[in-house]
C-alpha cells in the first residue's frame, strides 16, 4: 500500500485538488495499483499546489503543481516510487521556503490527516492536554504567561493576563470562545489550522477550559468557511467519542464541551464584544467596555475570547513549556507568527516564522517579488484596518512595537501586496467604503464619518478645493480615531492616512509631503 497525500485545504480545492484526487483514484483502480489517498492540510506553498506527495522508502516525495490531466504521465514516470518527472519537487521540507520556517503552531499542518485522531496522537498531539491535566489552573496560566504569547487576532494583548482575569473571576459558569471570524483580507491562517489540524484548536480550547474553570466552549466560525466547519465538526465528534471532550476528560473527572456556531457575513462580528452579542442571538452591535468580556462576557459570564491561532499555540506551550516558546522572537514579540503572503506576489502562501524578519525579506526572499513582475509599491499589513507601507519602510522588522512606531500594525499577520499599477486614492476610498458597509452603526464618527470620508476623497481626487478637502479628510480621520467606540471606526483612518501621506500624488496632491 502506497500512501499519497493530496490536500483538502480550500485554497488547494480552489485549484482543482478534488479532480486530481479522483483522477488518481480512478487510474489506480483501473491499473490495479494499491494506493491510499490521504487528504491532508496544505503546507502553504500555494504556487506549487495542488501538490501530490508520495510516501516512499526515501521519505515523502512531492510533485506539483499537478492537474488531473498530468496523472497518467506521472504514474507512467513512476511517481508511486518517487521517480523523476518534470513536476518532481523532491522533499518539500528541503525547499528553502519551508525549511527556513519555525513551524510551532503549524507543525502538523500539511503533514497529517486533519481528521484522524490517531495521526494527531502519533504526531505529538494531546501531550499539552495531558500535562495540563496534572497541573493546577494557576500553573497552566503561568505557562501561558511565561510564553509571552500575545493575542494573534489583532490587538496583541497578552494572553496570560487575559486568562488570569478570567481565572480570578468567581462564577458558576465560565466560557471559552474562539474567535474564528477571520474577516481580514489577506489572512487565512485561522482557516488553514481549522482545515488542516482542527484537533490542535480543540486541544488548545480544552486546556483553556481547564486553566480558568470553563466547561463550555464555542467556536464562532464565519459562514464563508464551510470546509473548516466540516473538519472541525468531524474532529469534535471524534474527540468526544474518545474521551478528549465531554464530562470526564481522559478519566480526570473534569469536563469540557465544545460547539461550532456560524456567523452570518458581518465583519464587525470579529470584534470580540460584537461577536458575543452575535453568539447570544442578537445583532452584532459593539458593547461598551468596561466591563471586559473576561468579567462579564457571554451570557453575562466570565469569558475568554481568543483568536484561533492564539488558542492553537497553547498545546505546544503546555507540551514544551512557556520558555521554549518565548525563546523565539524579538523584543516583546515572542514566539512565532504564521505570516500570510497574498495579493500580487509571486510565491503566495503561509509561512510560520519567529518575529523579527523584515518586510523586505518576507516580500523578496520568501515572496519572490510581485506576481506581475512589476515593482512592489505598497503593502497592506494586518487586514483592511492596517496601514499601507511604502517601499521606504520595507526594512521594518515584523514586531508589534516596530510596526506601531511607523503607525502601522502587524495585526493578524496578513500581508497584501500591490504593484505599481495600484491607485492608492482608490484604496483609501475603498477603506472608507468598507467601513460604511461594515460599521455596526452604534457610534456617529464611524457610521457617518465613513460616508463623509468617501465623499471627501472623491472631491480631492476630482480636484475640488484640494487643500481644504485634504485638511477636512485629516480632521475627519482624527475624529474617527478619537471618537469611535471600537477599532473599526478607530482604525479605518490607518489605511486612509497612510495612503495620503505616502502616496499623495495619487490624490492629485504634491509628492513633497511624503515625510508627513
Amino acid at each position: 500500500m502506497t500512501r499519497v497525500f493530496i490536500s483538502r485545504d480550500s485554497t488547494v480545492l480552489s485549484l482543482g485538488a478534488n479532480q486530481v484526487a479522483s483522477a488518481l483514484q480512478q487510474a489506480c483502480e483501473s491499473g490495479g495499483l494499491n494506493v491510499e489517498i490521504v487528504r491532508n492540510g496544505s503546507r502553504g506553498l500555494f504556487w506549487l499546489e495542488p501538490l501530490v506527495e508520495v510516501e516512499t522508502t526515501a521519505g515523502r516525495v512531492a510533485y506539483g503543481p499537478v492537474q488531473s490531466q498530468d496523472i497518467p504521465a506521472l504514474l507512467e514516470a513512476g511517481m508511486l516510487e518517487g521517480k523523476e518527472h518534470p513536476l518532481y519537487l523532491g522533499n518539500i521540507e528541503e525547499l528553502p521556503y519551508f525549511k527556513d520556517q519555525n513551524r510551532l503552531t503549524f507543525a502538523r499542518v500539511g503533514i497529517t490527516d486533519p481528521v484522524s485522531l490517531d495521526d494527531y496522537l502519533a504526531h505529538e498531539g494531546y501531550r499539552g492536554l495531558r500535562n495540563a491535566l496534572d497541573m493546577s489552573p494557576q500553573d497552566i496560566v503561568q505557562q501561558v504567561t511565561d510564553s509571552g504569547l500575545r493575542g494573534r487576532g489583532g490587538a496583541a494583548f497578552p494572553t496570560g493576563i487575559k486568562w488570569n482575569t478570567v481565572l480570578n473571576a468567581p462564577a458558576e459558569q465560565k466560557y471559552i470562545v474562539c474567535n474564528a471570524d477571520e474577516g481580514d483580507s489577506g489572512t487565512f491562517s485561522d482557516r488553514m489550522v481549522m482545515e488542516g489540524d482542527p484537533f490542535v484548536l480543540i486541544e488548545g480550547m480544552t486546556i483553556a477550559g481547564l486553566a480558568v474553570g470553563a466547561t463550555q466552549g464555542y467556536i464562532y466560525l464565519r459562514v464563508e468557511y464551510p470546509h473548516a466547519g466540516a473538519a472541525l465538526n468531524e474532529a469534535i465528534e471524534k474527540a468526544y467519542a474518545n474521551g478528549y471532550l465531554g464530562d470526564d476528560i481522559l478519566g480526570s473527572g473534569k469536563s469540557f464541551h465544545l460547539e461550532v456556531r456560524l456567523g452570518a457575513g458581518a465583519y464587525i462580528c470579529g470584534e470580540e464584544t460584537s461577536l458575543l452579542e452575535s453568539l447570544e442571538g442578537k445583532r452584532g452591535l459593539v458593547r461598551f467596555k468596561p466591563p471586559l468580556p473576561a468579567i462579564v462576557g457571554l451570557f453575562g459570564k466570565p469569558t475568554i475570547v481568543n483568536n484561533v491561532i492564539s488558542l492553537a499555540s497553547v498545546p505546544i506551550i503546555l507540551d514544551k513549556g512557556g520558555e521554549y516558546y518565548r525563546d523565539y522572537g524579538m523584543g516583546r514579540s515572542r514566539g512565532t507568527l504564521p505570516l500570510q503572503l497574498a495579493g500580487n506576489i509571486k510565491y503566495p502562501g503561509l509561512f510560520e516564522a519567529a518575529f523579527g524578519l523584515t518586510l523586505r525579506e518576507i516580500l523578496y526572499d520568501y515572496g519572490g517579488g510581485s506576481a506581475s513582475g512589476r515593482p512592489i509599491r505598497a503593502v497592506q499589513v494586518g487586514g483592511p484596518l492596517g496601514a499601507y507601507v511604502p517601499e521606504s519602510q520595507f526594512d521594518t522588522p515584523l514586531d508589534y512595537e516596530a510596526f506601531s512606531a511607523i503607525s502601522a500594525v502587524v495585526g493578524h499577520g496578513g500581508i497584501v501586496v500591490h504593484d505599481d499599477t495600484v491607485d492608492m486614492a482608490e484604496m483609501a476610498r475603498y477603506a472608507m467604503e468598507f467601513c460604511v458597509e461594515e460599521s455596526c452603526g452604534k457610534c456617529t464618527p464611524c457610521r457617518i464619518g465613513s460616508t463623509r470620508g468617501v465623499e471627501v476623497i472623491d472631491r480631492i481626487v476630482e480636484g475640488r478645493q484640494k487643500d481644504m478637502n485634504t485638511q477636512l479628510l485629516r480632521d475627519l480621520c482624527d475624529t474617527m480615531i478619537n471618537g469611535s467606540l471600537c477599532a473599526m471606526g478607530g482604525m479605518t483612518p490607518f489605511p486612509v492616512l497612510s495612503a495620503l501621506n505616502h502616496f499623495p500624488e495619487d490624490f492629485g496632491l504634491d509628492k513633497a509631503s511624503d515625510a508627513a
Binding site: S10, T11, L13, S14, L15, F46, E182, G183, D184, S185, G186, T187, F188, D190, R191, V223, E224, Y225, P226, R261, L262, G263, A264, G265, A266, Y267, S278, L279, E280, G281, K282, R283, G284, F299, Q340, L341, A342, G343, N344, P348, G349, L350, A371, Q380, P384, G414, V416, V417, H418, D419, V422, M427, Y430, F434, E437, E438
Partner: protein, 159 residues
C-alpha cells in the same frame, strides 16, 4: 413566491430542534435559510413567537447580517470577493465581468433564475486571488475566461 403553508412545517421543525439551545436565533435562521434558500417574511412572526421576541427584533437581526436573505435566490449563488487581495489581482475586472455576463447588479438574480450574484469580503482564498464561490465550491485565480467556463458548467448541470 412559494406558499408559506408548505414552508411553515419546516420552520416549525427547525424551531423545535433548537428550542433548548442557548443563543439559538442565528442557528435557527441558518437552519431556515439552508432548508428554504431564504427566510420568508411570514417565518419572522413564527420565529418571534417561538423565541418570545418581537417581530421587529427578529427583523433587525436578519437585516443586520449580510448573509441572510428574505427573497428566494437563484438556483446557484455566486459570491465574488471584493476585498483588497483580490483587488490587487484584477478583482475589479472580474466584478465587472460577472455583472455584465449575468446582466445583474450585486444582490441581483439573473433573468433565467440560474444565478444570484453576491459581493463578499474575503473568502480566505487570498493566496490565489481573485476568488469566488459558487454555492460552496471555491474557485481561485479566476480570470473572466475562467468565470465563463465555470458558469457554463453550472448552467449545463442537470439537477
Amino acid at each position: 413566491m412559494q406558499d408559506y403553508h408548505l414552508q411553515k412545517n419546516v420552520v416549525a421543525k427547525i424551531l423545535a430542534e433548537h428550542e433548548s439551545m442557548p443563543g439559538n436565533l442565528l442557528p435557527v435562521l441558518h437552519g431556515i435559510q439552508d432548508a428554504l434558500g431564504y427566510i420568508p417574511t411570514e417565518a419572522v412572526a413564527d420565529i418571534a413567537d417561538a423565541l418570545n421576541q418581537s417581530i421587529a427584533e427578529i427583523h433587525g437581526v436578519i437585516s443586520f447580517y449580510h448573509y441572510f436573505r428574505q427573497t428566494p435566490p437563484g438556483k446557484n449563488t455566486i459570491r465574488v470577493c471584493r476585498a483588497e487581495s483580490c483587488q490587487a489581482m484584477n478583482g475589479k475586472t472580474l466584478e465587472e465581468h460577472a455583472k455584465k455576463q449575468l446582466n445583474v447588479d450585486w444582490h441581483g438574480t439573473s433573468a433565467d433564475g440560474e444565478f444570484s450574484l453576491e459581493p463578499v469580503f474575503c473568502l480566505g482564498n487570498c493566496a490565489c486571488s481573485p476568488s469566488m464561490t459558487v454555492n460552496n465550491e471555491v474557485y481561485g485565480r479566476v480570470t473572466p475566461e475562467r468565470f465563463d467556463e465555470i458558469i457554463a458548467n453550472y448552467r449545463g448541470a442537470v439537477e
